[in-house]
């Protein structure tokens, strides 16, 4: 994985609470054995009508949303199913960070393994971002800092080990594999 340090992007805003992973990618798109091209199904039932035509009023389909890498969403983003297809679809579409007031546990874990930053902010910052779609923000994983268009610097926290892996382009599986001896010792005592 490519190391992540700092990036800047405009935001798109999805002001809905409890966006579950069935909305992020409906189950009928999970009958795959790879993750290639999965981004086209992102938010499928909100994004396309029954005939598959993009709905003009859905935020992802708006011209001003094109190229946005930061999604500002309502509280408790990513709840529900454990499907890692959800962060795969978001990343494949081009997102690099999700900003919310709470991010569901399994989704957060899955996101971090795919270079998608789950950024939790305070309610006041969240409100400000929800009210300003298209805001140009900058995200520094190194400094764990979100910079707003007005210059406001909002600190956020990423799990220290996940952050280390992302900053160094390291894989968590390599780290686990490096514990082979300890695992063997544990198994010997079982």
């Amino acid at each position: 994985m490519e190391p992540i340090r700092t990036f800047a992007s405009k935001t798109i805003v999805l002001p809905i609470d409890n966006v579950d992973t069935d909305q992020i990618i409906p189950a009928r798109f999970l009958k795959v054995t790879s993750k290639v091209g999965i981004g086209k199904h992102l938010f499928a039932d909100w994004r396309y009508d029954a005939a598959g035509t993009p709905k003009a009023d859905f935020v992802l389909n708006k011209p001003e949303a094109q190229g946005a890498q930061v999604l500002v969403a309502g509280d408790n983003f990513g709840c529900g199913s454990s499907r890692e297809h959800a962060p795969w679809a978001l990343v494949d579409h081009g997102f690099r960070a999700i900003i919310s007031t709470t991010i569901a546990d399994i989704f957060r874990n899955n996101a971090l393994k795919n270079g998608l930053l789950p950024i939790v902010v305070d309610a006041a910052t969240h409100k400000k971002l929800l009210a300003a779609p298209g805001a140009q923000v900058s995200v520094s994983l190194q400094d764990q800092m979100l910079t707003l268009p007005d210059g406001g610097a909002i600190p956020f926290t990423i799990d220290p080990f996940a952050r280390y892996c992302l900053l160094n382009g390291m894989d968590e599986l390599d780290f686990l594999l490096s514990h082979d001896e300890a695992i063997k010792q544990f198994e010997a005592k079982m």
């Binding site: 795959v32 529900g80 499907r83 890692e84 899955n110 080990f161 594999l177 514990h179 198994e187």
Partner: protein, 469 residues
Amino acid sequence: MTMQPRTLFEKIWDAHLVKPPTSETPAVLYVDLHLVHEVTSPQAFTWLRDRGLQVRRPERTVATMDHSTPTTPRGKDGKIPILDKQAAAQIGQLETNCKDFGVELHALGSERQGIVHVIGPEMGLTQPGTTIVCGDSHTSTHGAFGALAFGIGTSEVSHVLATQCLLQNRAKTLAITVEGKVRPWVTAKDIILAIVARLGIGGGTGQVIEYRGSAIRGLTMEERMTVCNMSIEAGARAGMIAPDDTTFQYLNGRERAPKGNAWDAAVSKWRTLPTDDGATFDNEMKFDGPSLEPMITYGTNPGMGMPITGVVPTPTNATLEKALKYMALEAGKPLLGKAIDVVFIGSCTNSRMSDLRAAASVFKGRKVAAGVRALVVPGSQQIKKEAEAEGLDKVFLAAGAEWREAGCSMCIAMNGDQLQPGQYAVSTSNRNFEGRQGAGGRTFLASPYTAAAAAVTGKVTDARTLVGG
């Protein structure tokens, strides 16, 4: 030196630490049992192949097929036909992966196949004090046995396949105590729907729930599984119940449970697992058992639930407003009497023998209402067999309901069983998210009694008024 009193969760956590957490690294936690299914595993096996890795502990890994598998009746050849090519390829991939990596597989239609969270307990694989993971959020089900069981993503599936371990940060603990005797017709499903309604869909985030109190102690294992199953619907990492004689009786004699002296030793060890007196939880919540009612959901997440006799609440925020718009429901109106199109009885929440018996008690001597489709989907091939031996299938079929093969079916709508846009369903499953049971479909979550009562009346019905409370 005396040990600090510990909770059930803390005891299991401590006993599985290959390496404790540091300020820079999460804990390396050992996994006793890894359950695998066709939908969240193919990429994980591919990554193992790409890196030349093996499955570290094939004997601790058990696979089945449930999510994308059809539950339609068998053909003349005794096989379950898979019409969807993409699903067939995914199912075929699991067969190849299990063969290549030496993993035990309960393939479609075989005698132990079924919903992953149904077959683990059924075979006696799910045991107290163990750590259990699966690429599925309803892994919390296994916590009913006093196991620490939780859902993981596909990357983590690859971690467990390759190392039998996971990197984990320790969750906080939440004690949910339900005291007193629940009233007749109030089921385990109603208890958990009431809990999720109060906690809210995100209220359990970052926490492991321990369900306690006399109402919980009084539940059978099947009922405890229903409660723990929906812990994730409040966002909790896991849900668990301390093992007791009910647990041991359920496990004793099951094919994969310890036998003879090993059984006695296991039971003595399991008796040390319950939370010690004086142990503290990070958070606590209390419920009064006798005041709980049969529940139903009205919205688009499992936290949007109310007593079945209630009225749809007036939206106080955009989220609820959106939910009621999707559900096409009017605030202030009751759900009782609302016409429905489909009834689904099944899923890892409510597809076990006691659920089927409850549903059959309502269907018996009645007919599915005109224009209503009712599906009854057993959780496993074993349950199907047992239900048929009891004649439950005949009750369902005589009523005009469909009797299916085992699988997730209409809970996940990726296997051919799904709602049509705009249809209303009463479902015994666990999620009423938009489109969960089929694009545009609308779901009311409820108990098997409530679902069966809706099937025979064609509308949302309080089973107590139909069968007598």
